[in-house]
Point group: C2
Chain length 122, copies 2
Amino acid sequence: MTPVQASACCRPIDDLLDPELFKALSDPTRSRLLGCLVKCGCACTVSDVGECCAVDLSVVSRHLSLLERAGVVQSSKTGRTVHYVVDYVRLCRTMRAIADAIEQCCPAEQLPGCARGCCGAR
Amino acid sequence: MTPVQASACCRPIDDLLDPELFKALSDPTRSRLLGCLVKCGCACTVSDVGECCAVDLSVVSRHLSLLERAGVVQSSKTGRTVHYVVDYVRLCRTMRAIADAIEQCCPAEQLPGCARGCCGAR
DNA sequence: AGTATATTTGCATTATGGTGCAAGTACGCA
DNA sequence: TGCGTACTTGCACCATAATGCAAATATACT
């Protein structure tokens, strides 16, 4: 396998396996808030989403802004209230891209003897 | 929307948004180890994978076993050495299932005015 | 049996992150 | 201008988790 081939098939993995995205989804409270927002199916205020969980509203605010920084949700401010919506398109595209990238990362090259030199060769 | 319809289209979300899985992918070192294992494309020993990162081998061992507990990789012991492989099928299936579930969670019901009562109604 | 290699586990240290409370900011309304 | 509402930020506290070192375990080899 040439370097060009290798970078073409495997390079996307590093970008897609973004720890920041997964970190955003790794907290039970955030997971619940996101699930709430997904099921809602429309723009929710911070207070609305907060009713899903028995945590302080400041905690909800922080979690939602973190989810936004991670690209999972989007916010829009109208007056005093802030509405959050799930960025369905981006989130779904990312999840599928990860699956695609993993599968396409040279599956045909899989060898029992680890002929590609494995990780040590990087 | 009846309760039956709601549970049919939205219920999978809660199970799929599993914080434990995402927590496993949320650490930079683990992310790197997993990326290494994906690119390798075959079974790697703990020592092999460890060459990806400048961390102690005991750290690598712990990270890999955590990834296994999360269902991301699988291990097999032969003699002294332990080989790890990515559970491609499971990981890819999960990622796509999340995307499917989010999209199928009542997209047709999305209303600007949040007519479903939003999260507060749960 | 004794030694070397591969991996895991115990332990202490340090870093990170979630939480609640209180205070602050921003905006709408009378 | 003053007050109430929606949200955010500062701060302290606590829990969890990542890390390295040293010791322990397990297995192969001679």
